[in-house]
Symmetry: none
Subunit: 214 residues, 2 copies
DNA sequence: ATCAAGACTGTATAAAATATCAGTCAATCA
DNA sequence: TGATTGACTGATATTTTATACAGTCTTGAT
């Protein structure tokens, strides 16, 4: 059982992956015929209808009447010689109870040198929400995370509590742990570790933001 | 025999630049017709012969009989040669009047893929001060900058004004340009471009922070 | 002065690619 | 149980694209 973050069917995900692959290896989107060859379809309409479905779901954009008129809305994958096959995994949605680095959570890889951060980053997490706004952590930012099961007061941590994964400032007083937001609009989460489990997944060791407003 | 990239004519360089531009902005190579439209050619053969010339000189590869069958041998367009394979230069203190990318300003190189950002980053600047705090830009952050001499309202820019280089939100009303901080403790800088010069050095296209507090 | 290369116009056409119509088959959903 | 959706086959019309052929005009080198 795989996690469906996109609303795409399995086949549609395969087609989308093929489009990405074509962009990366050929430097241009595939034609309908090329999709057919790759999947063994005997009719170009098979490819056509898959593309229409993907476009209807917003996964791609189709330009009418143009050869290879397929676009990936979120920008297209680029080849990058020096950093290829290295870099950090970007973790997408994390299902309750699952280990954070499970393969099905890996959304993509980003060409970032793990040793750019100190201590070394192990993976990236995409920030949702503004609960750490005043710490300069905004919605959509990528956080570089160093795996660690322990934290000291004042460190910004990735914590798993009540079947939720959250990023907050860590603050422990005895058995009582508080996860503090950096935004007055949000409430701290307080956990009595004698009663409820609290797991530290890692420490925030850096931040990457791309595409500032404008 | 080696490829002589400098052996391209002015026109051929323009065509090549257009191909790169198309790849970056459209995600695919142009057709002959698109080249014609871009340059105002009235015959598709004008584009065809330019492409042949570029292919003969090794600047591109042509795939026979395929729509948009233009490839750049070095893969996807990358930055110009100066900093290739060395990551992005981090610009330190910028002396008044000196071009920002002068070699003496380069503090170090960071192993970051320029295409991580969109548009591509050309260099990094270290943030001093908190004047953009509410935009999530904190003291010590590295900003990824895309070189540009123009900006639109609302974009965060690197601007040179009154012998100072500063990062602010750009806002123009006619000849009057305001550089707005994102922090109520700081005052906007307003410049009448008829009287005082104002130069845009680049656009902020990303941010890197390492070593969060803790 | 002639020659070659570069930068085009203009016309034509085959091949590539898009787009549409008409179906089949299986699984899921109301 | 009928309707809808997804995943296709098969055929074909139409548009886009590549590419060939025949020229003009200019510039710089021999």
């Amino acid at each position: 059982m795989t996690i469906d973050t996109t609303g795409l069917t399995r086949r549609q995900q395969e087609i989308l992956a093929f489009i990405r692959h074509a962009l990366e290896t050929e430097g241009r989107p595939p034609t309908r015929a090329e999709v057919c060859r790759a999947f063994g379809f005997k009719s170009p309409n098979a490819a056509e209808s898959h593309l229409r479905a993907l476009a209807a779901k917003g996964a791609i954009t189709l330009e009418e009447g143009r050869a290879r008129g397929i676009r990936l809305p979120g920008g297209f994958p680029r080849r990058s010689s020096a950093f290829r096959d290295e870099g950090l995994p970007l973790i997408g949605h994390v299902a309750a109870g699952n280990p954070i680095l499970a393969i099905e959570h890996i959304e993509s890889h980003h060409p970032i040198d793990p040793s750019l951060f100190s201590p070394r980053a192990d993976y990236l997490l995409r920030v949702k929400g503004l609960s750490m706004r005043d710490a300069g952590i905004l919605d959509g930012d990528l956080l570089a995370i160093h795996r660690s099961e322990t934290a000291r007061n004042g460190q910004v941590v990735v914590a798993r509590v009540r079947d939720d994964v959250t990023v907050k400032t860590f603050s422990a007083r005895g058995k009582l742990v508080s996860l503090l937001p950096a935004n007055p609009d949000f409430e701290p989460i307080t956990v009595d570790t004698e009663i409820e489990p609290l797991a530290i997944e890692g420490l925030v060791v850096g931040l990457i933001r791309n595409g500032l407003p404008g």
